[in-house]
């Protein structure tokens, strides 16, 4: 194997020789630099390969004896030793790879290409970092530290900007104080022990202060909060290529030094390191939330990530070795952060978009360079720790190491900080994806501006002369409006279509992204293989294949067909192996998902991401059905969340809503993460697991369900997603939380207090369910936007399912699943029918519609069946659910909950009637006279769902009997069958007979009317009524639709205050205020920063005293 000494000697030598090569030609020098970096990357990789080939497993790999070189021919204490073990090799490979990519990036970009001097400095920097990684001598570390620092100081100034000089000077002041402290520490340690070799220093005794001085100095180099003001200026002001090097390469070396020091440190030292890391992590994230400059935001994110790694170093041993954890985090951070800095470099040739608030050119970027934006998404996802990227696995193992040791504060810091990080990173991402009319930060549901109505040919029959006049008026106003817009539109377009040139080649960034992706997949394979759960990676494979198809611009229809085929085959293989509850939900997820995909077939052309995301989502739902291990489950759950986020963000004005969805999903996922770690093994119910596991897991699942209080992501996400996607979210995805509740039901039946055995978590869930049903119904009543109405309606329905589930009785569980299945059917009908209406009318506001029954009769019929099934009116399926619900509730003795559920179901009538009336009945609007029935692809799933509803209505036992079998054995039998009559302990219900009686009593009057009203029964035209002592001539004055339930609103008064929304807004504003007030400490004054550095050192020393 090649000696490590070359890793230092070659770049150092080359740095000095480079000016000579420049004489031979600029390209020769560049080629030399790249060749050296490639060699430096290959070197540690070659060691790794040899080790991996020679050792059978990970444990052996970690014990491999390091490759050591003693310089000058003397043994270690006298000479300086360089040693490369597995950790060194890993970090070196990453550092040199990143440096290679970084320098390549700077060489191939179109402006500010590095000069020969810069290349020399870059090589010195790499030398310094390699030296830091390899050397085992404390003073040698100082030398390399200074080499790294000095080359960094000089590099910062290289772009010659005013701000860079300012930042660099601040950095020098802080850095020189830190190195003074290091020097004092080194000499003090030498005085005490007589040695500077890491391998020969004594492991204990009297060296605490000296070591603390070293640690402090290293920490200061790692930019701890609050002594890091200078570093942020550097990230903001320096050339992004240099910032990437500082963040990814420079810091990694110092971090690794600190890691090498850990065997010498006492637990107090480690605690201080962990604490410093935690403080840095959380405060950097909070402040980053308030940043408007992207590079400064990335700078805060960098310091935060290093803080996280400090936390890992300081918190000691976990379930997997620290070095593996560190390697995952470090590699993830280096590649993604450097990649993002390069991206800002690429897209910001003229420094226009460094500010987050300037969104003008970003959407254009998304349109012109979708692949670039996809790449940004991948980098951000990796940085935010989403699956399958390396930091996702690191986060899992970090938390599972912290929780059993009871280090709750650190757990809270890690997860809270990660949540905020995902928040600001994806807020930036939404700037790329959102359309220009998208308001972005939606924090209040609002009536959105309408889709500009395309001027349709307004010919054809109009009912009356005055109707024609009205039309003429309208046409005139439309013309005026069009004129007005033609004047404004070019400006808008010009602004939006600002030419977005990518300044340079994205290849290095793409390579970094690919390394991340493959690293992530490798990590996934590595972590999932021990549990034989590699099959969980199927959704990822689907994602990759789909991404490929998308890149080839295959039409969406074909992609969807492929997806449906894939899901069909998958279901065919998977479902027969399932039984009981998983089978029910398997059918729900997969077959239900197929139903939803039919509606998507309506899309024409190539819709980037649509088919692939939908398919991936369904496959990841499939994962939930059979996953066994906790990690596998968490992986699948997060994958599902992120994919559904991407699906939502496709909506026209969905960026704010999607961000909210992501935040709540991730919050829920983190809650689940801690809950899972608390479970002993697997994630199936355990009798012995703690109450907290139940609470945390439950919270996570309730967020997905959209329980009241945790629901505020729901309306926006359902409403702003694309119309067919809303249907998928509401009818299929929302059941994922319910399924997990069923799976982990055992956690919810223990009493909260020993003295009150009746009050279990399930009891609380029951109340939450009833409240959710009521709140959802009430919120739905007062919406003008049809999709918000349906969204809240879904929330209310999920409330019933939760309530039924929480009963923990046979009838309750049957009903919960019965509702889940029928909800799938009728919500598909409603959402898809409404999708058709919105598609045709171009508006979502109900009061702008009306009288559509004559234009879209099939959609009307579908909605009619849907609302009857939803409301619970016999003879359709809804009544079965109501009957089982109340019967089960009264049997259980939950009378008040039953009353509340009944009230909620009465309220549901209000919005259901409003929905069907204001859209389909009343007065047809002039602009809708010519519209056609919804597209065929929309009608097909509706018709299938109608057939399903009718079948179950006619023969309820077709559904109820299998459900009864699915949960057989869980609970004592409380229902019985007498023929087709379902008998409970309280009452009975014969769905079949009800259907026949209803048909009978319906047919008799119908026949009578048909018989008697055959002659002289004239159908009149639209305006043939008398209203307000006149014959109305325009629908606008005659269609009663806006603010339909005004009296109810005034009757309820302050009961309608959106408490939950208010609460979460308050939380957000508190975080913001903390961020705003904390960042005031960064006054911009170099001396203040120096003072912080000094004070930080003093405080750490004092804490050490206190710690001993």
């Amino acid at each position: 194997m090649v000696s490590p000494i070359y890793a230092i000697a070659i770049p150092l030598g080359a740095a000095f020789l480079l000016p000579l090569f420049e004489k031979a030609g600029k390209n020769a020098a560049k080629a030399l630099v790249l060749a050296i970096l490639a060699a430096l990357t290959a070197l540690p990789v070659s060691w790794l390969v040899v080790w991996i080939v020679n050792t059978p497993n990970l444990a052996g790999l970690l014990r491999v004896s390091p490759l050591a070189v003693d310089t000058g021919g003397f043994p270690a204490p006298i000479s300086i030793r360089l040693a490369a073990g597995i950790g060194e090799a890993l970090v070196m490979a990453l550092v040199n790879l990143t440096a290679f990519l970084g320098i390549t990036h700077m060489l191939v970009r179109s402006q500010a290409k590095p000069t020969g001097k810069t290349l020399v400095l870059l090589l010195t920097l790499v030398t310094g970092v390699n030296g830091l990684i390899l050397t085992r001598d404390l003073f040698n570390i100082f030398v390399f530290l200074e080499i790294t620092s000095i080359s960094t100081y000089a590099l910062i100034a290289s772009n010659g900007s005013k701000r860079a000089y300012e930042a660099g000077f601040k950095y020098i002041i802080a850095g020189s104080i830190a190195s003074s402290i290091y020097l004092v520490g080194v000499i003090y340690l030498y005085r005490l022990t007589g040695s500077l070799s890491l391998d020969h220093l004594p492991r204990s005794g009297g060296t605490a202060i000296a070591l603390m001085l070293l640690t402090t100095a290293l920490l200061l180099e790692l930019k701890p909060f609050p002594a890091n003001g200078w570093s942020l200026d550097v990230y903001q002001a320096a050339d992004p290529g240099i910032s990437a090097m500082v963040s990814a390469v420079g810091a990694s070396g110092v971090l690794f030094v600190l890691y090498k020091l850990t065997p010498l440190l006492s637990p107090t030292h480690l605690r201080l390191i962990a604490g410093s890391g935690a403080v840095t992590f959380v405060f950097s994230q909070v402040i980053a939330l308030r940043q408007t400059d992207v590079r400064r935001m990335l700078g805060y994110s960098s310091t935060a990530q290093i803080g996280l790694m400090l936390l890992v170093i300081g918190s000691g041993r976990g379930t997997i070795p620290t070095i593996v954890l560190l390697g995952l985090l470090l590699g993830n951070h280096m590649l993604s952060k450097a990649g993002l800095f390069w991206v800002t470099d690429l897209i910001d040739g003229n420094r226009t978009i460094a500010s987050m608030s300037d969104s003008g050119s970003l959407p254009a970027l998304a349109r012109n360079k979708p692949l670039l934006v996809a790449m940004i998404g991948i980098l951000l996802a990796a940085l935010a720790g989403l699956p399958p990227f390396p930091s996702f696995w690191a986060k899992w193992h970090l938390v599972s190491a912290l929780v059993p040791n009871g280090r709750w504060l650190l757990v809270a810091v890690v997860l809270g900080g990660s949540l905020m990080e995902a928040g600001y990173l994806f807020r930036w991402f939404t700037r790329f994806t959102k359309a220009s009319e998208d308001p972005g930060d939606v924090h209040q549901e609002r009536i959105p501006a309408d889709v500009p109505v395309t001027t349709r040919p307004q010919t054809g029959t109009v009912s009356s002369r005055s109707g024609k006049e009205a039309l003429a008026r309208q046409a005139a106003s439309t013309a005026a409006a069009t004129q007005a817009t033609t004047q404004t539109i070019p400006q808008v377009v010009r602004q939006a279509e600002q030419p977005v040139e990518i300044s340079g080649s994205p290849v290095p960034t793409i390579i970094a992204t690919l390394v991340l992706v493959f690293g992530g997949i490798a990590a996934a394979v590595g972590f999932l293989a021990p549990n034989q759960e590699l099959i969980l990676l199927v959704p990822l494979a689907v994602l990759l294949i789909g991404a490929l198809l998308d890149t080839l611009r295959i039409p969406s229809k074909i992609q969807l067909l492929l997806g449906m085929l894939g899901i069909g085959v998958y279901s065919w293989l998977l479902l027969p192996s399932l039984g009981g509850i998983p089978l029910v939900f398997g059918l729900l997820f997969l077959v239900g998902g197929l139903l939803q995909m039919i509606a998507l077939m309506q899309r024409k052309g190539h819709q980037p991401g649509l088919a692939v995301l939908v398919s991936t989502l369904l496959f990841s739902l499939g994962n939930l059905l059979f996953v066994q291990s906790r990690l596998g489950f968490f992986f699948s759950w997060e994958l599902m969340s992120i994919v559904s986020y991407l699906l939502i963000v496709r909506g026209r004005a969905a960026s704010g809503a999607a961000l909210r969805y992501l935040m709540f999903s991730l919050g829920g996922a983190y809650s689940i993460l801690v809950g899972l770690v608390l479970l002993p093994t697997g994630f199936a119910p355990h009798a012995t697991s703690s109450l907290w596991a139940g609470i945390l897991l439950g919270t996570g699942f309730l967020i997905k369900i959209g329980t009241v209080g945790l629901h505020i992501w729901l309306p926006g996400a359902y409403a702003e997603a694309e119309d067919e996607v809303s249907s998928l979210l509401s009818s299929v995805l929302s059941k994922a939380g319910l399924f997990m509740l069923f799976t982990t039901a055992g956690l919810f039946i223990q009493p909260l207090l020993r003295s009150v055995p009746g009050v279990t978590l399930a009891y609380l869930l029951g109340w939450l369910g009833a409240l959710t049903a009521l709140a959802g119904a009430f919120l739905a009543v007062f919406q003008e936007d049809i999709k918000y109405t349906l969204a809240y309606s879904s929330m209310g329905q999920m409330g019933y399912m939760l309530l039924s589930f929480a009963l923990m009785t046979q009838l309750g569980w049957i009903n919960s699943m019965y509702l889940a299945v029928t909800h799938l059917l009728f919500k598909t009908m409603l959402f898809v029918a409404i999708a058709g209406v919105v598609h045709r009318t171009g508006t979502r506001l109900m009061y702008r519609m009306g009288g559509l029954i004559s234009r879209m009769p099939v959609s009307f019929f579908s909605v009619l069946i849907g609302i009857i099934a939803l409301s619970g009116v016999p003879p359709l399926t809804g009544f079965g659910a109501k009957w089982m619900l109340y019967t089960a509730l009264i049997e259980k003795g939950w009378y008040l909950q039953a009353g509340m559920a009944f009230f909620a179901s009465a309220i549901a009538f209000l919005y259901l009637f409003r929905l069907i009336h204001t859209i389909f009945l009343g007065q047809l609007k002039d602009e809708h006279r010519e519209i056609r029935e919804a597209p065929l692809w929309y009608l097909v799933p509706q018709l299938i769902a109608i057939i399903g509803i009718m079948l179950v209505s006619m023969f309820p036992n077709l559904l109820i009997k299998p459900l009864e079998m699915a949960i057989a054995g869980y609970f004592p039998q409380t229902i019985a069958w007498q023929g087709s009559t379902l008998v409970s302990t309280l009452g009975y219900w014969n769905g079949n007979a009800v259907m026949y009686v209803t048909m009978g009593v319906f047919l008799v009057p119908l026949v009578w009317l048909l018989a008697t009203r055959r002659k002289h029964n004239q159908k009149v035209r639209q305006f043939n009524i008398v209203y307000s002592a006149e014959r109305p001539d325009r629908p606008q004055t005659t269609h009663y639709a806006y603010n339909f339930y005004a009296p109810y609103r005034s009757a309820l008064g302050s009961f309608l205050t959106p408490w939950a929304t208010r609460f979460w807004k308050r939380v957000l504003s508190v975080v913001r205020v903390v961020g705003s007030s904390t960042r005031r400490i960064y006054s911009g004054d170099g001396q203040t920063y120096a003072l912080y550095v000094l004070l930080y050192a003093i405080v750490l020393m004092l804490l050490l005293r206190g710690g001993n």
Binding site: S854, V873, Y886, G899, F903, T998, R1013, N1017, I1025, P1047
Partner: protein, 303 residues
């Protein structure tokens, strides 16, 4: 086959009885109201005349399919509601189709006709129809709450949701009636009944005097006749239901007539004595005291 024929015959008898009784009751009460207001009033048989006249009017108009179906839905709702209630305790003829489902079925089937009617009226395009429907539905949600609580209280009291079962449990003397064994439930239920009957003070839904409001606005001829038929049957069904729930049911037709007459008289009595609520007032009224009484009735069953 013979069973089915017999059942059909019984059904027809039962419907014939309730239709005539309902119409006569409506006529009688109209006269009672007139006397209170110092008028002579219409003849008792006036409802028959109205229905016959409306059904045999030569011409009529309609606004569309849903408009046509609205009255059908309405009457089907009335008929169905009635047919799912056992009218006379222990009688085969008047047991109707109560075997199809219990009290919950009846409570939800009431909505069937209301929903269909509202839809039919909606297609007329007349703003008064949806205004009336919006008020009616809003008020309905409010008065259903105390009623539901009363029903839950009774169901837990007797451990059954079967109407026959509830009636059976009240046999054996006046003191066994729910009205005496569970007075709070009875009070909550009877206040709801006022709202359900849409008489004063809860008559804003129809507002029959000032503006021709509510679902029937555009209804004419046979459509209106069908609605009037329904009103008689539906009224009867509701009266029978409340009689069964709170006042011990009826062992024979005579008892049924007396009890339901008194129940209806109570509605008319209150209606003649009180002025009218605005919609928001009536909503707030039902969600206030009656709901609290209902909750008290339920809580008493729990402890």
């Amino acid at each position: 086959m013979k069973d089915i024929a017999m059942k059909a015959l019984y059904t027809l008898i039962s419907l014939f009885v309730i239709l005539n009784y309902g119409l006569l009751l409506t006529g009688t009460m109209a006269r009672v109201r007139a006397k209170v207001q110092g008028r002579i009033g219409q003849p008792v048989y006036q409802p028959y005349i109205d229905i016959l006249k409306n059904n045999f009017l030569r011409t009529s108009i309609y606004h569309g399919v849903m408009f046509f179906l609205g009255p059908v839905f309405r009457l089907a709702g009335g008929l169905g509601t009635y047919l799912f209630i056992p009218v006379i305790f222990g009688s085969t003829i008047f047991s109707n189709f109560a075997f199809s489902g219990d009290l919950l079925l009846v409570m939800y089937f009431i909505f069937f006709g209301q929903l269909g009617m509202a839809l039919g009226a909606g297609q007329s395009g007349h703003p008064y129809s949806p205004i009336g429907v919006s008020r009616g539905l809003a008020q309905m949600t409010a008065f259903e709450l105390p009623f539901a609580l009363a029903v839950i209280s009774i169901a837990s009291q007797y451990g059954t949701l079967s109407i026959t079962g509830i009636v059976a449990a009240q046999q054996g003397g006046i003191l066994n009636w729910v009205a005496f064994t569970n007075p709070l439930a009875m009070v909550a239920g009877m206040i709801s009944f006022l709202g359900m009957s849409m008489d004063n003070p809860f008559s804003i839904v129809l507002a029959p005097q000032e503006i021709p409001i509510g679902p029937p606005t555009e209804m004419n001829a046979g459509f209106l006749g069908m609605l009037q038929t329904n009103r008689a049957i539906f009224n009867g069904a509701k009266l029978v239901l409340f009689m069964n729930l709170f006042f011990g049911g009826a062992g024979n037709l005579l008892v049924m007539v007396v009890k339901t007459f008194l129940l209806y008289f109570y509605v008319v009595f209150v209606g003649a004595s009180f002025p009218r609520f605005r919609p928001d007032q009536s909503i707030r009224f039902f969600l206030g005291i009656p709901t609290l009484i209902g909750i008290a009735a339920v809580v008493l069953q729990m402890v």
